[in-house]
């Protein structure tokens, strides 16, 4: 199978919520093993677009998706991949840290592995969980209480548990929907450092409404406004010499 050099390629993507046209003819190419930030004001359709990359919009019957999304060269909507396979390859971290409250820290990570039969033995499961927690920088903090419920963890720790849950599946792409929006500054810093670390092995798509964060962690950035792609490119270039007046206004805080 021919693999594309791009992790995700979006062509002429249109998304409708009922009669609302929320994403308008967007084209994007997300290179492999980079951090790609999607920024824009709240309510501009960033999160909706992100959910179209792992077919999470299938959950909502009112949503229509037109256009194509390719994952490493394979079309995720009309190709031979079903939604479960897509979601296995594209991990997702949410705005509100949501480890499952009825599962222990250990089982939160084990769940996806077991359901998708990604490990063959209990030993492998243990190893994979330890590996994921280490990668997420959480191992030292939880290694003695793997059977505790996540309710005892801080917001930042919960979010890193969610990241460990995703990493354990060894996805190719990790999508993060404003992962630090509900986390305190210290916790946010740790997660930003982690994003930097993770891009060595994964393609990361980061949605944020905070331009400073995009500037700190991303290699590429796309600016979305009212459902349209205003411009996209290397982070350094967009932040120093944006082509669009709209981008400039946004970056200088004149557009909310």
């Amino acid at each position: 199978m021919s693999e594309s050099e791009y992790a995700i390629e979006v062509e002429n993507l249109n998304i409708y919520y009922g009669n609302n046209h929320v994403i308008k003819s967007i084209n994007l190419k997300i290179p492999q093993k980079t951090v790609f930030a999607i920024m824009g004001p709240s309510g501009c359709g960033k999160s909706t677009m992100l959910r179209s990359f792992n077919r999470l919009l299938d959950l909502n019957k009112n949503v229509r998706v037109n256009g194509s999304v390719h994952l490493f060269g394979r079309d995720i909507y009309t190709g031979d991949m079903d939604s479960v396979e897509v979601r296995r390859e594209v991990g997702m971290v949410f705005q509100y840290p949501n480890p499952f409250p009825h599962l222990s820290i250990y089982n939160n990570i084990a769940l996806g592995l077991k359901m998708n039969k990604l490990v063959k033995s209990d030993k492998e499961l243990d190893e994979r969980i330890e590996w994921a927690l280490k990668k997420a920088g959480l191992w030292e903090e939880v290694k003695h209480r793997l059977n505790d419920y996540p309710s005892g963890l801080s917001g930042g720790q919960r979010q890193r548990l969610v990241i460990a849950r995703v990493i354990a599946m060894k996805p190719k792409v990790i999508m993060m929907d404003e992962p630090t929006a509900n986390i305190d500054p210290v916790g946010s810093k740790k997660i930003e450092d982690l994003i930097f670390e993770l891009k060595k092995d994964y393609t990361i798509v980061l949605v944020t409404h905070n331009p400073a964060q995009a500037a700190r962690v991303s290699d590429y950035v796309a600016f979305i406004y009212l459902g349209e792609l205003v411009e996209a490119g290397e982070t350094g270039k967009i932040f120093t010499a944006p082509e669009s007046k709209l981008t400039e206004k946004y970056l200088t805080g004149k557009l909310v």
Binding site: D82, S83, V84, E85, N116
Partner: protein
């Protein structure tokens, strides 16, 4: 490789749950079918007279048998109306009091009390009704009304036993109050805070503010009333212990009567002795079935339309 097996439009989830859904729909349809088919003999023999006459000729000679349940229909409507007259003022006051006035702890107690009343086994209302409420009402309400108001035609008969439309209505009123309250209270709670603030900022007193706010939930009150009526008309054992069980087409609230459900409860056990009575009782059940269904649908419709309107 696909882990999510698809069979046409159905997935595994549908295969697990759909049979259960189908079962409950079939069960309901089956119930309606049983009532329709079981009452056909009565309609073939008597036609609409089953519903529109007041006769009860139970006879061991089948030719002499003849039944009309008009008195029971009347009793059901009469007792349920009395029940609403009791329940409405109580429910509305209670809802206003709980939402607007009661201190937090009292509010909790009132809500739990109301829920206990809603769940309390009806037979306990029944035994209390038969042994306490009926004598109490006879002594303190029926006799005084007869003594002082007997010039009014419907109060002209001296109450005999106390087992009557009135007793059944009051007991039903007590029983349905928590249900009506639940609907009214829920609606009254949903009034957005800004409306309350707006009312007070106009310098209104709490009474004046409440008067305006209560208008906002009027459709919910109507819906609660309709659903309460439905509950009252379907209640069986408590009513049959206090209503007196007599075929009586009288407007005198203190005279004994029947309701459809109490008629079924008291007559069905013996109906197999007779040739034609069982079918008549199923026809009575069919009437209750359809009226209950209509009332519930109407109540749900009013409530949903209101919810739709206020959500905009």
């Amino acid at each position: 490789m696909s882990t999510l097996k698809k069979f046409g439009r159905f997935d595994r989830f549908d295969f697990l749950t759909y049979p259960a859904v189908l079962f409950v729909f079939l069960l309901f349809t089956w119930m309606l079918a049983v009532y329709v088919t079981s009452s056909i003999p009565a309609f073939q023999r008597e036609g609409w007279n089953v519903y529109f006459t007041n006769v009860w000729n139970a006879s061991e000679c089948p030719d002499k048998e003849y039944y009309g349940i008009l008195a029971a229909i009347w009793g059901s409507l009469y007792t349920s109306t009395i029940a609403l007259l009791v329940a409405l003022p109580l429910s509305i006051s209670y809802s206003i009091f709980v939402v607007d006035y009661a201190p937090k702890r009292l509010k909790g107690i009132l809500e739990i009390t109301s829920d206990i009343m809603a769940g309390l086994p009806t037979i306990i209302y029944g035994i209390w009704g038969a042994f306490f409420l009926v004598p109490f009402l006879k002594e303190w309400v029926m006799m005084p009304v007869y003594n002082y108001l007997s010039f009014i035609p419907i109060f002209s008969q001296k109450p005999v036993s106390g087992f009557s439309f009135f007793s059944a209505g009051v007991l039903l009123g007590i029983m349905i109050t928590p249900f009506v309250s639940a609907v009214v209270r829920e609606a009254y709670t949903t009034i957005p805070h800004t409306y309350r603030e707006a009312a007070y900022s106009l310098g209104l007193t709490r009474y004046e503010a409440t008067k305006i706010l209560i208008g906002y939930v009027k459709p919910a009150m109507i819906s609660g009333t309709i659903l309460g009526f439905g509950r009252a008309i379907g209640e069986t054992v408590a009513v049959s212990l206090v209503v007196g069980n007599a075929f009586n087409l009288s407007a005198d609230p203190f005279s004994p009567g029947y309701t459809i459900s109490s008629l079924i409860a008291t007559q069905y056990g013996n109906s197999f002795i007779y040739t034609h009575m069982t079918s008549v009782l199923y026809a009575a059940g069919l009437f209750l079935f359809l009226v209950g269904l209509f009332i519930t649908l109407l109540g749900m419709y009013v409530l949903r339309r209101w919810k739709k309107n206020v959500s905009i």
